[in-house]
Amino acid sequence: MGLFKNKKEGQPLQAEKGTVDSSFLVLVLIVLTCGLVMMFSASYAYAYYYFDNSFHFITRQLFFAVLGVFVMMVVSFVDYHVLHRFVVPVMAVTVVLLVVVLFMPEINYVHRWINLGFTTFQPSEFAKFSVVLSFAHLISVNYSRMKTFKYGILPFALILGVFAVLLMLEPHLSATVLICLIGAVMMFVGGSNLKWFALVAAVGVAGLALAAMNEDIIAYATSRFAYWLDPFSDPQGKGYQTLQSLYAIASGGLLGLGIGQSRQKYLYLPEPQNDFVFAVVCEELGFVGAVFIILLFALLIWRGFAIAAKARDRFGSMLAVGLTTQLGLQVILNIAVVTNTIPNTGISMPFFSYGGTALVMLLAQMGVVLSVSRQSSLPKE
């Protein structure tokens, strides 16, 4: 991997000398492969029944996976410092998109998707990256003043506040929670004063409560909460998806029914290729397979944080922290939903759930982490 060793230093927009963290890259590719295989298996019957083509989802997902890997590799060669310049435009675009999406037609009573014609796209995905980028930028710029309220709390709170309010208008509770959690983790790692933290947490809760004044949101959230505690209270309605997921997981047992052998994917589990793909993983691969997948993600998180720790500078470090945290939190929340450990919210499983733009976006973000890792061997700034 000494390919780029002789390149000249200090040239922006061009890769710095150094190699990517190969174990992170390999892990990403392994997880991606597992995800594609399992998404194919999970979507097989559903695709056959509704699209007369079992390969309906996997062909599209494969295309985006290839595209995504390409994008990841390209991004990994880009010096991540260039992202400093994009902070303001990205923020602006995010806000615009989050506003625009509110005027999109409702799908399932919420405004979450923008239809681009060839694919649909969730601005909330973009908002997550936006938060990671802006927070990494702010922390790296204001690191010495992080203990103060003005620099260590206020800007972050403002950004999160604006995003949270816009997201709750869709409404999109899970994205709001996810973004707040990512932000909180980054602030914590970035060194925000913990006493302010409590205050912000209180403000955040108050903000949520304010958002929850909206009756629709209350009804929406509380119903999910009720069926979380007792999915059998409405087995054919609100509890259906959760129950079908639990049936699938329990059916898997210790060793699973074997790959491709899920029975729950035969139209029992609604849209098994989406948020609940992990239930099919549990059914087909059993406890052993599910733990294996979780361990792969744990290794990925470990490598992500290792990259962050070794990063050349604080910006790179915080980018890696933010992006890895986003990945980790999504995995954790998704599995928590699938196992009914937390109420059912719409959080997809990175690398496993179907969704082209989300996958490309995710791989691009992995490319950013790789880009950070590429400079870790260089002298710190």
Binding site: A45, Y49, Y143, V185, F188, V189, G190, G191, L243, L246, Y247, A248, I249, A250, S251, G252, G253, L254, R263, Q264, Y266, L267, Y268, C282, G286, F287, A290, V291, I294, F297, A298, I301, W302, F305, A308, A309, D313, R314, S317, V321, T325, G328, L329, I332, I335, A336, T339, T341, K380, E381
Partner: protein, 744 residues
């Protein structure tokens, strides 16, 4: 710069990383272990319950054969027409509804409505349709190219002989389960074991071919061979039905024919009957007419219909105990002779009535029979004489006889619904009571009730040498391949009287028919034994004040070597001064005159009977059919009753014409049937025997002219009417014979 602050940041990173990987993921792994390893059983079972569909596969029900292998009840494959609304496109609704409405004969709107609920996958629109209809449905589905119509295999019960032995066979109800009769009693034998198809299905109810599937084949039911003989059953039913019409029998009639030496049931009938193919429809036109007077679906209507259905399904032979009246005197006589308390030459005086402990019992002949022997007493069916005989037996022995003859408990025949008459016979205490009133009435067959089956079984024992048999109706059980699984052997219960006593009873019953009250059951050429019975429905009289009778007759044939016993009872016939001797005896005679030749028991004519070969036909117009038949039988002629009326309105040949012995006189009982004609067959060139057979088989009579047909060269040369003409049945065909072997 990074280095001095790096430590704090790195520590916080490690904290976050550990929190995510160890704490959060640890919790999730623990959660998974609970769901997948330790506590997921309930979810697992629920998953399997929703994924696995167990579909029942109907087992073909076994066939019911008569003793000669005729199919009395059989199952055939039929089809259920199912709509799958979930697969029906909106624009398909109209053509599907229109097409099915036409094929199935239903309302188009109704079918369209069934298509409406798109979440349904099963709407039954055609129940048990025949193969032909199913093919049409299939063609329609193909033509429309719809996935919304499917067929489901099912089985249906058919009774090819219609109402034959309806109450005996019973019928099947929902899910092809036996509801009455043999169908119910032998449900387990006939039903077989339904198969199951267990398969994994998707949430839409479609089989997953490549997934788990297990098939348990249906096991076809076993078949039954009855002791019933379809032909004998037919004769019995035909005459029972005619009797019900001619005597306007209000409460139905029951008849049974048994093999005297085994108590196999050869025929068992209840009239009026019903068609087990349509068990809910009323078979009795009178009841149907009454029903139609009521407002449809009103409470009375439904109640009347329910009661009428229940009544028509009842097997009167086993389910309705009645007072046997004088038929029971056979048992009284046998007991007295067996116990040695009376002999044939003992004399009894009848003054028209007798008084027992202050209760007056009248004889049917008010003038009295005077002094008579035991034999004459039974010929006369004299009540005072039998009261005296009963008194000689004594209450204790009489009760014991009841038990010995099996009259105090159900016979245990293999049919459902046999009445338990234990509470309907006089108790030991009653029979042995001081004064002997109950004993007196019991002696001539009143104040207790037995079923026709019990009585017939007892009569069999009295005449077959004294052995009481277990009556039965299923002869064999066959497996689906037709191999015999089991055969019912006649089972002797006990010896009730000695062979000598039995022989005496045979003699006595023959005397009853020869000289006494049973004369109307005479069949020339045969030795027939029998006993009449007329009983008052005393309980009905006490309860409602209606004075009704049950007339019955038991026939034993041949009297010297009994093969069959035939018991017929008519419940509430409407004729003034009706007696069993004038009404029930001719019916039994008519039945026996057809059954005996069928059984291969040939008539043996006395010299006197043989003397006149040609018989002059009498006038039978105006008579009730069975009286006319009895009169013809005694002339050694046959009767063929055509029509549904209760009176003979025309006859062919007409009165005064001569026909050969054994010829048939056709008796018409309604206008319509007189239009029936037969085509005269050609007999020219035939021998005497051939010509006779041909003409008789065509339902016509032959009159021979010319040379003696016994001559080997006798050939028919002329016939009138000519071949091909249409004439009423029974018409005399005059045939000229010439002996062509003798040269001119």
């Amino acid at each position: 710069m990074a280095k001095d602050t790096g430590k704090g940041m790195r520590l916080r990173m490690i904290l976050v990383m550990l929190f995510m990987t160890l704490v959060c993921m640890g919790v999730l792994i623990y959660r998974l272990s609970v769901l997948q390893i330790t506590g997921g059983q309930e979810y697992q079972q629920r998953a399997v319950a929703q994924q696995m569909r167990s579909v029942s596969i109907n087992a073909n029900r076994g066939t019911i054969y008569d003793r000669n292998g005729k199919e009395l009840a059989t199952s055939a494959t039929v089809w259920n027409v199912i709509l799958v609304p979930a697969y029906i496109e909106d624009e398909e609704v109209e053509p599907i509804a229109a097409g099915l409405a036409e094929i199935l004969g239903k309302e188009k709107d109704e079918i369209a409505a069934r298509c409406a609920n798109k979440e349904r996958y099963y709407e039954l629109v055609g129940n048990k349709v025949e193969e032909e209809t199913a093919q049409k449905v299939l063609a329609l589905a193909e033509q429309l190219g719809t996935k919304g119509i499917t067929l489901e295999e099912d089985t249906k019960r058919y009774y090819p002989y219609g109402d034959l032995a309806a109450q005996v066979l019973g019928f099947t109800g929902s899910e092809n389960k036996g509801a009455y009769g043999i169908e119910a009693y032998y449900e387990e034998t006939l039903a077989g074991t339904p198969g199951r198809k267990v398969s994994a299905q998707n949430a839409m109810g479609t089989d997953l071919d490549f997934q788990y599937k297990e098939l348990y084949e249906a096991k076809e039911g076993n078949s039954l061979v009855l002791t019933i003989d379809e032909t004998i059953q037919h004769y019995l039913e035909k005459h029972l039905e005619t009797a019900v019409i001619e005597h306007n029998v209000k409460n139905g009639a029951a008849g049974i024919i048994m093999d005297a030496n085994t108590c196999e049931v050869l025929a068992m009938a209840t009239a009026p009957d019903f068609d087990p193919n349509k068990p809910l429809e009323l078979g009795d036109p009178n009841k149907q007419a009454q029903l139609e007077l009521l407002e449809e679906d009103s409470e009375e209507y439904n109640e009347f219909l329910r009661q009428a259905q229940y009544d028509q399904w009842r097997n009167k032979v086993i389910s309705d105990p009645y007072e046997p009246g004088s038929v029971f005197k056979i048992v009284t006589a046998a007991t007295a002779l067996e116990n040695g308390v009376a002999s044939l030459n003992d004399t009894f005086e009848c003054t028209g009535s007798t008084t027992v402990s202050g209760n007056r019992f009248g004889c049917w002949k008010a003038a009295g029979h005077g002094v008579q022997t035991f034999t004459q007493a039974i010929e006369n069916s004299c009540n005072p004489a039998f009261i005296a005989i009963g008194a000689r037996i004594g209450g204790a022995d009489f009760y014991e006889a009841f038990e010995r003859y099996g009259l105090a408990e159900p016979t245990g025949i293999d049919l459902p619904g046999e009445a338990d008459n234990a509470g309907l016979v006089q108790s030991y205490t009653n029979l042995t009571k001081e004064g002997g009133v109950e004993l007196a009435s019991t002696s001539f067959g009143q104040t207790f009730k037995v079923s026709a089956l019990q009585l017939c079984t007892a009569v069999c024992a009295s005449v077959n040498g004294g052995t009481l048999y277990q009556p039965y109706i299923v002869k064999q059980v066959l497996d689906p391949e037709g191999n015999v699984i089991s055969t019912t052997q006649p089972e002797a219960k006990r010896q009730v009287i000695s062979e000598e006593t039995s022989e005496t009873i045979r003699y006595l019953t023959e005397m009853v028919v020869k000289e006494g009250s049973g004369r109307n059951a005479t069949i020339p050429g045969y030795r027939i034994g029998g006993k009449t019975g007329t009983s008052e429905k005393i309980d009905l009289l006490i309860q409602t004040g209606r004075d009704e009778n049950i007339l019955s007759f038991v026939g034993i044939a041949p009297a010297d070597d009994p093969q069959i016993v035939c018991l017929i009872m008519l419940d509430e016939p409407t004729l003034e001064n009706a007696f069993g001797s004038t009404i029930a005896a001719p019916v039994v005679g008519a039945v026996l005159s057809e059954v005996l030749p069928y059984l291969g028991i040939d008539p043996e004519y006395s010299d006197e009977e043989l003397a006149n070969m040609d018989i002059t036909v009498g006038n039978y117009v105006g008579m009730v059919p069975h009286d006319a038949q009895a009169a013809l039988t005694q002339k050694t002629l046959k009767a063929r009753i055509i029509g549904d009326g209760g009176t003979v309105i025309a006859q062919v040949p007409s009165s005064g014409e001569d026909i050969p012995r054994g010829g048939t006189v056709v008796l018409y009982t309604d206008q319509l049937s007189q239009e029936d004609t037969v085509v005269v067959p050609g007999v020219i060139g035939m021998s005497g025997a051939e010509a006779n057979r041909t003409i008789v088989n065509a339902g016509l009579n032959i009159k021979v002219k010319g040379v003696d047909t016994e001559l080997p060269g006798a050939v028919a040369v002329r016939q009138s009417p000519a071949e091909g003409e249409s004439v009423p049945p029974g018409t005399i065909i005059t045939v000229d014979f010439l002996d062509l072997t003798t040269d001119g």
